[in-house]
Protein backbone atom coordinates (compact mmCIF):
# COMPACT_ATOMS: atom_id res chain seq x y z
CA UNK A 1 0.00 0.00 0.00
CA UNK A 2 2.64 2.46 1.04
CA UNK A 3 4.81 1.10 -1.78
CA UNK A 4 2.08 1.93 -4.24
CA UNK A 5 1.82 5.57 -3.10
CA UNK A 6 5.56 5.91 -3.21
CA UNK A 7 5.89 4.66 -6.74
CA UNK A 8 3.27 7.13 -7.96
CA UNK A 9 4.90 10.06 -6.19
CA UNK A 10 6.83 12.47 -8.33
CA UNK A 11 10.49 11.44 -8.01
CA UNK A 12 10.62 9.16 -11.05
CA UNK A 13 10.73 5.69 -9.61
CA UNK A 14 13.76 3.78 -10.80
CA UNK A 15 13.21 0.08 -10.28
CA UNK A 16 16.33 -1.58 -8.97
CA UNK A 17 16.61 -3.86 -11.99
CA UNK A 18 15.91 -1.69 -15.05
CA UNK A 19 18.55 0.96 -15.72
CA UNK A 20 17.08 4.49 -16.00
CA UNK A 21 18.06 4.65 -19.65
CA UNK A 22 19.04 1.92 -22.04
CA UNK A 23 19.63 2.66 -25.72
CA UNK A 24 20.17 -0.21 -28.13
CA UNK A 25 21.14 -0.03 -31.79
CA UNK A 26 19.63 3.45 -32.21
CA UNK A 27 19.49 4.50 -35.86
CA UNK A 28 18.16 7.90 -36.93
CA UNK A 29 17.69 9.06 -40.50
CA UNK A 30 16.56 12.46 -41.63
CA UNK A 31 15.56 12.97 -45.26
CA UNK A 32 16.70 9.47 -46.18
CA UNK A 33 20.22 9.97 -44.83
CA UNK A 34 21.23 7.85 -41.86
CA UNK A 35 22.89 10.08 -39.27
CA UNK A 36 23.16 7.70 -36.32
CA UNK A 37 24.44 4.24 -37.16
CA UNK A 38 23.45 2.04 -34.27
CA UNK A 39 24.18 3.73 -30.95
CA UNK A 40 24.05 1.54 -27.85
CA UNK A 41 24.69 2.47 -24.25
CA UNK A 42 23.08 2.29 -20.88
CA UNK A 43 23.01 4.50 -17.85
CA UNK A 44 23.11 3.44 -14.20
CA UNK A 45 20.96 5.14 -11.56
CA UNK A 46 22.60 8.40 -10.52
CA UNK A 47 25.35 8.01 -13.08
CA UNK A 48 26.86 10.97 -14.89
CA UNK A 49 27.58 10.01 -18.46
CA UNK A 50 29.43 12.29 -20.86
CA UNK A 51 28.98 12.47 -24.62
CA UNK A 52 31.99 13.92 -26.34
CA UNK A 53 32.77 14.48 -30.01
CA UNK A 54 33.14 17.11 -32.69
CA UNK A 55 30.21 18.90 -34.27
CA UNK A 56 28.10 16.62 -36.42
CA UNK A 57 29.29 13.55 -34.55
CA UNK A 58 25.77 12.64 -33.46
CA UNK A 59 25.95 13.43 -29.75
CA UNK A 60 23.19 16.04 -29.76
CA UNK A 61 21.05 13.99 -32.14
CA UNK A 62 21.24 11.06 -29.73
CA UNK A 63 20.07 13.23 -26.86
CA UNK A 64 17.24 14.71 -28.93
CA UNK A 65 16.18 11.19 -29.93
CA UNK A 66 16.04 10.18 -26.27
CA UNK A 67 13.91 13.24 -25.46
CA UNK A 68 11.68 12.62 -28.50
CA UNK A 69 12.55 16.06 -29.85
CA UNK A 70 13.75 15.07 -33.32
CA UNK A 71 12.13 16.82 -36.30
CA UNK A 72 8.81 15.28 -37.37
CA UNK A 73 10.25 13.82 -40.55
CA UNK A 74 13.09 11.97 -38.80
CA UNK A 75 12.81 8.19 -38.72
CA UNK A 76 14.02 6.36 -35.65
CA UNK A 77 14.88 2.68 -35.35
CA UNK A 78 16.23 0.59 -32.53
CA UNK A 79 15.28 0.87 -28.91
CA UNK A 80 15.28 3.59 -26.26
CA UNK A 81 14.07 2.36 -22.90
CA UNK A 82 13.39 4.82 -20.14
CA UNK A 83 13.06 2.64 -17.08
CA UNK A 84 10.63 0.06 -18.37
CA UNK A 85 9.05 2.23 -21.03
CA UNK A 86 9.98 1.84 -24.68
CA UNK A 87 10.12 5.32 -26.26
CA UNK A 88 10.72 4.43 -29.91
CA UNK A 89 7.40 4.36 -31.73
CA UNK A 90 5.56 6.07 -28.90
CA UNK A 91 3.09 8.71 -30.13
CA UNK A 92 4.25 12.27 -29.50
CA UNK A 93 1.41 13.10 -27.12
CA UNK A 94 2.53 10.27 -24.81
CA UNK A 95 6.15 11.28 -25.16
CA UNK A 96 5.21 14.83 -24.26
CA UNK A 97 3.73 13.57 -21.00
CA UNK A 98 7.15 12.11 -20.12
CA UNK A 99 9.12 15.18 -21.13
CA UNK A 100 9.64 17.61 -18.31
CA UNK A 101 8.33 14.99 -15.89
CA UNK A 102 10.72 12.06 -16.29
CA UNK A 103 13.19 13.60 -18.76
CA UNK A 104 14.52 17.12 -18.37
CA UNK A 105 16.70 18.88 -20.90
CA UNK A 106 19.02 21.89 -20.77
CA UNK A 107 20.25 23.59 -23.93
CA UNK A 108 23.38 25.38 -24.99
CA UNK A 109 22.44 28.99 -25.43
CA UNK A 110 21.09 30.72 -22.33
CA UNK A 111 20.35 33.83 -24.42
CA UNK A 112 17.59 32.08 -26.34
CA UNK A 113 16.67 29.23 -24.00
CA UNK A 114 14.20 31.39 -22.08
CA UNK A 115 11.11 33.14 -23.37
CA UNK A 116 11.94 36.87 -23.26
CA UNK A 117 8.35 37.76 -22.30
CA UNK A 118 7.96 35.66 -19.18
CA UNK A 119 9.46 36.14 -15.74
CA UNK A 120 12.00 33.56 -14.58
CA UNK A 121 9.72 32.20 -11.87
CA UNK A 122 7.05 31.29 -14.38
CA UNK A 123 9.55 29.65 -16.71
CA UNK A 124 11.27 27.68 -13.97
CA UNK A 125 7.96 26.11 -12.96
CA UNK A 126 6.43 25.60 -16.39
CA UNK A 127 7.03 21.84 -16.57
CA UNK A 128 6.10 21.39 -12.93
CA UNK A 129 2.83 23.27 -13.32
CA UNK A 130 2.05 21.31 -16.47
CA UNK A 131 2.50 17.87 -14.98
CA UNK A 132 1.27 18.55 -11.45
CA UNK A 133 -1.58 20.97 -10.98
CA UNK A 134 -0.39 23.67 -8.62
CA UNK A 135 -2.12 26.61 -7.05
CA UNK A 136 -0.62 30.02 -7.64
CA UNK A 137 0.85 30.04 -4.12
CA UNK A 138 2.36 26.58 -4.52
CA UNK A 139 3.81 27.55 -7.86
CA UNK A 140 5.43 30.63 -6.40
CA UNK A 141 6.83 28.65 -3.50
CA UNK A 142 8.18 26.08 -5.96
CA UNK A 143 9.82 28.85 -7.99
CA UNK A 144 11.56 30.21 -4.89
CA UNK A 145 12.67 26.73 -3.84
CA UNK A 146 14.01 25.97 -7.31
CA UNK A 147 15.81 29.29 -7.51
CA UNK A 148 17.71 28.57 -4.32
CA UNK A 149 18.28 24.97 -5.37
CA UNK A 150 20.12 26.07 -8.51
CA UNK A 151 22.08 28.67 -6.58
CA UNK A 152 20.37 31.85 -7.73
CA UNK A 153 21.20 34.53 -5.18
CA UNK A 154 18.26 36.66 -4.03
CA UNK A 155 15.52 34.23 -5.18
CA UNK A 156 12.75 36.73 -4.42
CA UNK A 157 14.15 39.13 -6.99
CA UNK A 158 15.14 36.40 -9.43
CA UNK A 159 11.72 34.82 -9.79
CA UNK A 160 10.31 38.23 -10.66
CA UNK A 161 13.06 39.15 -13.12
CA UNK A 162 12.77 38.93 -16.89
CA UNK A 163 15.50 37.02 -18.75
CA UNK A 164 17.09 40.20 -20.11
CA UNK A 165 17.52 41.53 -16.60
CA UNK A 166 19.88 38.79 -15.47
CA UNK A 167 23.28 37.51 -16.59
CA UNK A 168 23.96 34.57 -18.87
CA UNK A 169 25.01 32.38 -15.97
CA UNK A 170 21.87 33.23 -14.04
CA UNK A 171 19.75 32.50 -17.10
CA UNK A 172 21.39 29.12 -17.52
CA UNK A 173 20.73 28.38 -13.86
CA UNK A 174 17.07 29.29 -14.42
CA UNK A 175 16.97 27.00 -17.47
CA UNK A 176 18.44 24.20 -15.34
CA UNK A 177 15.82 24.89 -12.67
CA UNK A 178 13.13 24.57 -15.36
CA UNK A 179 14.55 21.23 -16.47
CA UNK A 180 14.72 19.74 -12.97
CA UNK A 181 11.51 21.29 -11.64
CA UNK A 182 9.49 18.10 -11.79
CA UNK A 183 12.47 16.05 -10.55
CA UNK A 184 13.05 13.97 -13.67
CA UNK A 185 15.05 10.77 -13.28
CA UNK A 186 17.02 11.65 -16.38
CA UNK A 187 18.60 15.01 -17.11
CA UNK A 188 20.00 15.70 -20.58
CA UNK A 189 22.37 18.67 -20.85
CA UNK A 190 23.47 19.71 -24.33
CA UNK A 191 26.63 21.83 -24.03
CA UNK A 192 25.09 23.80 -21.16
CA UNK A 193 28.32 25.60 -20.30
CA UNK A 194 29.73 26.28 -23.77
CA UNK A 195 28.26 29.78 -24.02
CA UNK A 196 29.36 30.79 -20.51
CA UNK A 197 32.67 32.31 -19.54
CA UNK A 198 35.11 30.17 -17.61
CA UNK A 199 34.41 31.32 -14.05
CA UNK A 200 30.65 31.04 -14.53
CA UNK A 201 31.20 27.66 -16.17
CA UNK A 202 32.84 26.29 -13.03
CA UNK A 203 29.87 27.20 -10.88
CA UNK A 204 27.36 25.67 -13.30
CA UNK A 205 29.40 22.46 -13.55
CA UNK A 206 29.46 22.24 -9.77
CA UNK A 207 25.68 22.64 -9.83
CA UNK A 208 25.30 19.70 -12.21
CA UNK A 209 27.43 17.56 -9.90
CA UNK A 210 25.35 18.58 -6.87
CA UNK A 211 22.04 17.93 -8.64
CA UNK A 212 23.04 14.41 -9.56
CA UNK A 213 24.44 13.35 -6.22
CA UNK A 214 22.52 10.38 -4.92
CA UNK A 215 20.75 7.89 -7.15
CA UNK A 216 17.64 9.86 -8.04
CA UNK A 217 18.86 11.66 -11.11
CA UNK A 218 21.07 10.39 -13.90
CA UNK A 219 22.81 12.85 -16.15
CA UNK A 220 23.78 12.82 -19.80
CA UNK A 221 26.19 15.68 -20.34
CA UNK A 222 27.16 16.66 -23.88
CA UNK A 223 30.25 18.69 -24.61
CA UNK A 224 33.10 19.01 -27.06
CA UNK A 225 35.40 20.17 -24.26
CA UNK A 226 37.38 17.44 -22.50
CA UNK A 227 38.29 19.65 -19.56
CA UNK A 228 34.59 20.23 -18.88
CA UNK A 229 33.92 16.55 -19.37
CA UNK A 230 36.56 15.59 -16.83
CA UNK A 231 34.90 17.81 -14.22
CA UNK A 232 31.41 16.40 -14.60
CA UNK A 233 31.28 12.93 -16.06
CA UNK A 234 32.10 9.58 -14.52
CA UNK A 235 31.92 7.66 -17.76
CA UNK A 236 32.40 8.91 -21.31
CA UNK A 237 31.10 7.98 -24.77
CA UNK A 238 33.20 9.28 -27.65
CA UNK A 239 31.12 10.04 -30.75
CA UNK A 240 32.29 10.35 -34.32
CA UNK A 241 30.34 10.29 -37.56
CA UNK A 242 27.17 8.96 -35.94
CA UNK A 243 28.93 6.13 -34.11
CA UNK A 244 30.17 5.61 -30.58
CA UNK A 245 33.82 4.88 -31.27
CA UNK A 246 35.01 4.43 -27.72
CA UNK A 247 33.67 4.36 -24.19
CA UNK A 248 35.11 4.07 -20.72
CA UNK A 249 35.63 5.91 -17.47
CA UNK A 250 37.01 9.42 -17.65
CA UNK A 251 40.35 8.14 -16.39
CA UNK A 252 40.58 5.42 -19.04
CA UNK A 253 39.67 7.78 -21.85
CA UNK A 254 42.10 10.49 -20.77
CA UNK A 255 45.02 8.24 -19.93
CA UNK A 256 44.85 5.53 -22.53
CA UNK A 257 42.66 6.55 -25.43
CA UNK A 258 42.48 3.71 -27.91
CA UNK A 259 41.12 5.66 -30.84
CA UNK A 260 42.98 8.25 -32.88
CA UNK A 261 40.03 10.64 -32.81
CA UNK A 262 39.93 10.51 -29.03
CA UNK A 263 43.66 11.25 -28.98
CA UNK A 264 43.07 14.20 -31.29
CA UNK A 265 40.39 15.54 -28.93
CA UNK A 266 42.77 15.24 -26.00
CA UNK A 267 45.54 16.99 -27.93
CA UNK A 268 43.15 19.78 -28.86
CA UNK A 269 42.08 20.21 -25.24
CA UNK A 270 45.73 20.27 -24.15
CA UNK A 271 46.54 22.97 -26.68
CA UNK A 272 43.53 24.94 -25.56
CA UNK A 273 44.20 25.44 -21.90
Amino acid sequence: MSDRTQSTSQAAPTPALAPPLEVADLRVSIGGVELLHGISFSLAPGERLGFIGGSGSGKTLTALAVAGLLPEHASVQGSIRLGETELVGMPDAELASLRGDRIGMVFQEPKTALNPLHRLGRQMTEALALHYSLTRVERRAAALRLASRVGLKDPERMVRAYPHEVSGGQRQRAAIAAAISARPGLLLADEPTTALDVTVQKGVLRLFRELTEGDDTSLVFITHDLAVMAEVAERVLVFDGGNVIEQGTVGQILESPSHSITRALIRAAGGDS
Binding site: A93, G100, M105, T112, L130, R140, A179, V200, R206
Partner: protein, 294 residues
Protein backbone atom coordinates in the same frame (compact mmCIF):
# COMPACT_ATOMS: atom_id res chain seq x y z
CA UNK B 1 3.71 36.16 -13.76
CA UNK B 2 0.31 37.73 -14.03
CA UNK B 3 -0.09 41.42 -14.66
CA UNK B 4 1.39 41.04 -18.14
CA UNK B 5 -1.59 42.68 -19.77
CA UNK B 6 -1.98 45.30 -17.04
CA UNK B 7 1.68 46.14 -17.49
CA UNK B 8 1.19 46.59 -21.22
CA UNK B 9 -1.66 49.06 -20.80
CA UNK B 10 0.14 50.99 -18.11
CA UNK B 11 3.24 51.35 -20.23
CA UNK B 12 1.14 52.28 -23.24
CA UNK B 13 -0.49 55.19 -21.43
CA UNK B 14 2.82 56.34 -20.01
CA UNK B 15 4.53 56.68 -23.37
CA UNK B 16 3.82 60.03 -25.07
CA UNK B 17 3.08 58.39 -28.41
CA UNK B 18 0.72 55.87 -26.85
CA UNK B 19 -1.10 58.52 -24.84
CA UNK B 20 -1.49 60.77 -27.91
CA UNK B 21 -2.73 57.90 -30.06
CA UNK B 22 -5.20 56.73 -27.45
CA UNK B 23 -6.50 60.29 -27.00
CA UNK B 24 -7.09 60.78 -30.74
CA UNK B 25 -8.73 57.38 -31.12
CA UNK B 26 -10.90 57.93 -28.05
CA UNK B 27 -12.01 61.24 -29.55
CA UNK B 28 -12.82 59.44 -32.81
CA UNK B 29 -14.84 56.77 -31.02
CA UNK B 30 -16.71 59.30 -28.90
CA UNK B 31 -17.46 61.46 -31.93
CA UNK B 32 -18.81 58.47 -33.82
CA UNK B 33 -20.91 57.47 -30.84
CA UNK B 34 -22.28 60.97 -30.26
CA UNK B 35 -23.09 61.37 -33.95
CA UNK B 36 -25.53 58.48 -33.67
CA UNK B 37 -27.71 60.55 -31.31
CA UNK B 38 -26.90 64.16 -31.94
CA UNK B 39 -25.37 66.31 -34.68
CA UNK B 40 -25.13 70.11 -34.91
CA UNK B 41 -27.10 69.95 -38.17
CA UNK B 42 -28.39 67.44 -40.69
CA UNK B 43 -25.23 66.36 -42.54
CA UNK B 44 -27.10 65.81 -45.81
CA UNK B 45 -29.23 68.94 -45.71
CA UNK B 46 -28.05 71.11 -48.61
CA UNK B 47 -28.84 74.78 -48.81
CA UNK B 48 -27.30 76.48 -51.83
CA UNK B 49 -27.83 79.96 -50.40
CA UNK B 50 -25.54 79.06 -47.48
CA UNK B 51 -22.71 77.55 -49.57
CA UNK B 52 -19.04 78.23 -48.71
CA UNK B 53 -19.73 79.86 -45.37
CA UNK B 54 -16.86 80.50 -43.00
CA UNK B 55 -16.85 78.94 -39.54
CA UNK B 56 -19.48 80.51 -37.28
CA UNK B 57 -21.57 79.60 -34.24
CA UNK B 58 -24.22 77.90 -36.38
CA UNK B 59 -21.70 76.21 -38.69
CA UNK B 60 -18.68 75.44 -36.51
CA UNK B 61 -16.43 74.56 -39.41
CA UNK B 62 -18.36 76.37 -42.13
CA UNK B 63 -20.29 74.85 -45.02
CA UNK B 64 -19.36 73.13 -48.29
CA UNK B 65 -20.33 73.76 -51.93
CA UNK B 66 -23.92 72.66 -51.30
CA UNK B 67 -24.21 74.55 -48.04
CA UNK B 68 -24.03 71.40 -45.91
CA UNK B 69 -22.62 71.73 -42.40
CA UNK B 70 -18.98 70.48 -42.47
CA UNK B 71 -18.77 69.77 -38.74
CA UNK B 72 -21.85 67.54 -38.92
CA UNK B 73 -20.52 65.76 -41.98
CA UNK B 74 -17.16 65.18 -40.29
CA UNK B 75 -18.88 63.78 -37.21
CA UNK B 76 -21.12 61.52 -39.23
CA UNK B 77 -18.11 60.53 -41.33
CA UNK B 78 -16.36 59.34 -38.16
CA UNK B 79 -18.96 56.54 -38.03
CA UNK B 80 -17.93 55.31 -41.45
CA UNK B 81 -14.30 55.53 -40.46
CA UNK B 82 -14.79 53.57 -37.24
CA UNK B 83 -16.86 50.98 -39.08
CA UNK B 84 -14.28 50.56 -41.84
CA UNK B 85 -11.34 50.46 -39.43
CA UNK B 86 -12.90 47.91 -37.10
CA UNK B 87 -14.23 45.81 -39.98
CA UNK B 88 -10.92 45.86 -41.83
CA UNK B 89 -9.02 45.11 -38.62
CA UNK B 90 -11.18 42.08 -37.85
CA UNK B 91 -11.13 40.72 -41.41
CA UNK B 92 -7.43 41.34 -42.02
CA UNK B 93 -6.48 40.20 -38.53
CA UNK B 94 -8.32 36.90 -38.86
CA UNK B 95 -7.08 36.28 -42.39
CA UNK B 96 -3.54 37.36 -41.50
CA UNK B 97 -3.21 35.36 -38.30
CA UNK B 98 -4.96 32.29 -39.67
CA UNK B 99 -2.90 32.10 -42.84
CA UNK B 100 0.30 32.90 -40.92
CA UNK B 101 -0.22 30.12 -38.39
CA UNK B 102 -1.14 27.50 -40.98
CA UNK B 103 1.61 28.47 -43.41
CA UNK B 104 4.26 28.67 -40.67
CA UNK B 105 3.39 25.72 -38.47
CA UNK B 106 0.80 23.67 -40.33
CA UNK B 107 1.28 20.37 -42.14
CA UNK B 108 4.34 20.49 -44.40
CA UNK B 109 2.32 19.63 -47.49
CA UNK B 110 0.05 22.60 -46.94
CA UNK B 111 2.73 25.21 -46.30
CA UNK B 112 4.27 25.60 -49.75
CA UNK B 113 1.01 25.96 -51.72
CA UNK B 114 -0.30 28.34 -49.09
CA UNK B 115 2.78 30.57 -49.37
CA UNK B 116 2.31 30.75 -53.14
CA UNK B 117 -1.38 31.50 -52.64
CA UNK B 118 -0.50 34.34 -50.27
CA UNK B 119 2.03 35.77 -52.72
CA UNK B 120 -0.52 35.67 -55.55
CA UNK B 121 -3.03 37.53 -53.42
CA UNK B 122 -0.42 40.10 -52.40
CA UNK B 123 0.37 40.70 -56.06
CA UNK B 124 -3.34 41.18 -56.79
CA UNK B 125 -4.16 44.90 -56.45
CA UNK B 126 -6.58 45.70 -53.66
CA UNK B 127 -8.22 48.32 -55.86
CA UNK B 128 -8.94 45.74 -58.55
CA UNK B 129 -10.40 43.43 -55.93
CA UNK B 130 -12.63 46.26 -54.69
CA UNK B 131 -13.79 47.06 -58.23
CA UNK B 132 -14.59 43.39 -58.87
CA UNK B 133 -16.47 43.05 -55.61
CA UNK B 134 -18.32 46.30 -56.29
CA UNK B 135 -19.29 45.02 -59.74
CA UNK B 136 -20.82 41.89 -58.25
CA UNK B 137 -22.28 43.12 -54.96
CA UNK B 138 -22.66 46.84 -55.66
CA UNK B 139 -20.41 49.45 -54.13
CA UNK B 140 -20.65 50.29 -50.44
CA UNK B 141 -18.90 50.07 -47.11
CA UNK B 142 -18.89 46.22 -46.96
CA UNK B 143 -16.98 46.10 -50.25
CA UNK B 144 -14.38 48.43 -48.77
CA UNK B 145 -14.07 46.35 -45.60
CA UNK B 146 -13.79 43.02 -47.39
CA UNK B 147 -11.36 44.14 -50.08
CA UNK B 148 -9.14 46.04 -47.65
CA UNK B 149 -9.39 43.15 -45.18
CA UNK B 150 -8.23 40.63 -47.75
CA UNK B 151 -5.64 42.94 -49.27
CA UNK B 152 -3.91 43.74 -45.99
CA UNK B 153 -4.72 40.39 -44.41
CA UNK B 154 -2.44 38.54 -46.81
CA UNK B 155 0.33 41.05 -46.20
CA UNK B 156 -0.03 40.59 -42.46
CA UNK B 157 0.04 36.83 -43.04
CA UNK B 158 3.36 37.06 -44.84
CA UNK B 159 5.09 39.17 -42.22
CA UNK B 160 3.69 37.29 -39.24
CA UNK B 161 4.50 33.96 -40.88
CA UNK B 162 8.17 34.91 -41.17
CA UNK B 163 8.16 36.01 -37.53
CA UNK B 164 6.54 32.76 -36.37
CA UNK B 165 9.08 30.69 -38.31
CA UNK B 166 11.91 32.57 -36.68
CA UNK B 167 10.51 32.27 -33.16
CA UNK B 168 9.76 28.60 -33.74
CA UNK B 169 13.47 27.99 -34.33
CA UNK B 170 14.47 29.51 -30.98
CA UNK B 171 15.78 27.33 -28.19
CA UNK B 172 13.02 28.29 -25.79
CA UNK B 173 10.48 26.63 -28.08
CA UNK B 174 12.56 23.45 -27.98
CA UNK B 175 12.84 23.91 -24.21
CA UNK B 176 9.06 24.28 -24.00
CA UNK B 177 8.68 21.03 -25.93
CA UNK B 178 11.23 19.46 -23.61
CA UNK B 179 9.00 20.56 -20.72
CA UNK B 180 6.22 18.50 -22.26
CA UNK B 181 4.03 21.33 -23.56
CA UNK B 182 1.69 20.42 -26.40
CA UNK B 183 1.94 22.14 -29.78
CA UNK B 184 -1.21 24.07 -29.01
CA UNK B 185 0.10 25.24 -25.64
CA UNK B 186 3.38 26.30 -27.22
CA UNK B 187 1.49 28.27 -29.86
CA UNK B 188 -0.64 29.97 -27.24
CA UNK B 189 1.96 30.60 -24.56
CA UNK B 190 5.18 31.08 -26.48
CA UNK B 191 4.74 31.63 -30.22
CA UNK B 192 1.79 34.01 -30.38
CA UNK B 193 2.88 36.29 -27.51
CA UNK B 194 6.30 36.66 -29.10
CA UNK B 195 4.84 37.33 -32.54
CA UNK B 196 2.24 39.71 -31.11
CA UNK B 197 4.36 42.89 -31.39
CA UNK B 198 4.87 42.33 -35.12
CA UNK B 199 1.23 41.41 -35.58
CA UNK B 200 0.02 44.48 -33.72
CA UNK B 201 2.25 46.82 -35.71
CA UNK B 202 1.06 45.27 -38.96
CA UNK B 203 -2.55 45.45 -37.84
CA UNK B 204 -2.23 49.10 -36.88
CA UNK B 205 -0.69 49.81 -40.28
CA UNK B 206 -3.60 48.01 -41.90
CA UNK B 207 -6.07 50.04 -39.85
CA UNK B 208 -4.41 53.27 -40.89
CA UNK B 209 -4.27 52.19 -44.50
CA UNK B 210 -7.92 51.10 -44.34
CA UNK B 211 -8.92 54.72 -43.70
CA UNK B 212 -6.88 55.83 -46.70
CA UNK B 213 -8.35 53.02 -48.79
CA UNK B 214 -11.88 53.99 -47.77
CA UNK B 215 -11.13 57.56 -48.73
CA UNK B 216 -9.63 56.42 -52.03
CA UNK B 217 -12.40 53.98 -52.88
CA UNK B 218 -15.13 56.45 -51.94
CA UNK B 219 -13.30 59.02 -53.98
CA UNK B 220 -13.47 56.66 -56.97
CA UNK B 221 -17.09 55.87 -56.29
CA UNK B 222 -16.70 52.28 -55.02
CA UNK B 223 -17.07 53.11 -51.36
CA UNK B 224 -19.64 54.96 -49.37
CA UNK B 225 -22.76 55.98 -51.33
CA UNK B 226 -23.31 59.78 -51.62
CA UNK B 227 -26.06 59.63 -48.97
CA UNK B 228 -23.52 58.43 -46.37
CA UNK B 229 -21.07 61.16 -45.47
CA UNK B 230 -17.55 59.80 -45.37
CA UNK B 231 -14.25 61.64 -45.11
CA UNK B 232 -13.12 60.23 -48.45
CA UNK B 233 -16.33 61.40 -50.09
CA UNK B 234 -15.92 64.86 -48.58
CA UNK B 235 -12.43 65.08 -50.08
CA UNK B 236 -13.74 64.03 -53.45
CA UNK B 237 -16.59 66.55 -53.46
CA UNK B 238 -14.40 69.45 -52.44
CA UNK B 239 -11.15 68.75 -54.28
CA UNK B 240 -12.09 70.76 -57.37
CA UNK B 241 -12.45 73.86 -55.16
CA UNK B 242 -9.16 73.45 -53.32
CA UNK B 243 -7.66 76.64 -54.79
CA UNK B 244 -10.60 78.79 -53.75
CA UNK B 245 -11.77 77.18 -50.52
CA UNK B 246 -8.80 75.24 -49.08
CA UNK B 247 -10.38 75.00 -45.61
CA UNK B 248 -13.17 72.80 -46.92
CA UNK B 249 -10.62 70.27 -48.17
CA UNK B 250 -8.46 70.73 -45.11
CA UNK B 251 -10.99 69.45 -42.55
CA UNK B 252 -11.51 65.94 -43.91
CA UNK B 253 -7.82 65.83 -44.87
CA UNK B 254 -6.85 66.74 -41.32
CA UNK B 255 -9.24 64.18 -39.84
CA UNK B 256 -7.83 61.42 -42.05
CA UNK B 257 -4.20 62.35 -41.40
CA UNK B 258 -4.68 62.59 -37.65
CA UNK B 259 -6.50 59.26 -37.41
CA UNK B 260 -4.03 57.39 -39.60
CA UNK B 261 -1.14 58.88 -37.64
CA UNK B 262 -2.79 57.84 -34.39
CA UNK B 263 -3.00 54.23 -35.56
CA UNK B 264 0.65 54.18 -36.61
CA UNK B 265 1.79 55.66 -33.30
CA UNK B 266 -0.46 53.27 -31.42
CA UNK B 267 1.15 50.31 -33.17
CA UNK B 268 4.59 51.58 -32.35
CA UNK B 269 3.80 52.32 -28.74
CA UNK B 270 2.02 48.98 -28.29
CA UNK B 271 5.03 47.09 -29.63
CA UNK B 272 7.25 48.70 -27.03
CA UNK B 273 4.74 48.34 -24.23
CA UNK B 274 4.32 44.62 -24.89
CA UNK B 275 8.02 43.75 -24.86
CA UNK B 276 9.63 43.83 -21.43
CA UNK B 277 13.01 44.37 -23.11
CA UNK B 278 11.86 47.63 -24.68
CA UNK B 279 9.79 49.03 -21.83
CA UNK B 280 12.58 50.99 -20.26
CA UNK B 281 13.87 52.71 -23.33
CA UNK B 282 15.64 49.63 -24.61
CA UNK B 283 18.25 49.64 -21.85
CA UNK B 284 19.61 46.15 -21.55
CA UNK B 285 20.60 44.93 -18.13
CA UNK B 286 22.99 42.29 -19.48
CA UNK B 287 25.71 44.82 -19.92
CA UNK B 288 25.28 46.09 -16.38
CA UNK B 289 25.50 42.82 -14.52
CA UNK B 290 27.59 40.41 -16.50
CA UNK B 291 29.15 38.91 -13.42
CA UNK B 292 27.59 35.76 -12.07
CA UNK B 293 27.76 35.12 -8.35
CA UNK B 294 28.72 31.52 -8.94
Amino acid sequence: MSGQRGGTLRHLIRSPRGAFALAVLALLAITALVSLFWLPANPNQSNISEAWQSPSLTHWLGTDSSGRDIASRLMAGARVTVLVVLGAAIVSGLIGLGLAIISALGPRKLREPLIIFIDVLIAFPTLLLAIMLAAVFGSGIPVVIVSVGIGYGVQIARVVRAELRQINAEDFILAARASGLSRWAILRMHLLPNAAPVFVVQLSLAMGLAILAEAGLSYLGFGAPPSVPSWGLMLQESQSQIAIHPAVVMWPGLAITLTVLAFYLLGDALREAMDPRLRFGGRRADSVQSGDPA
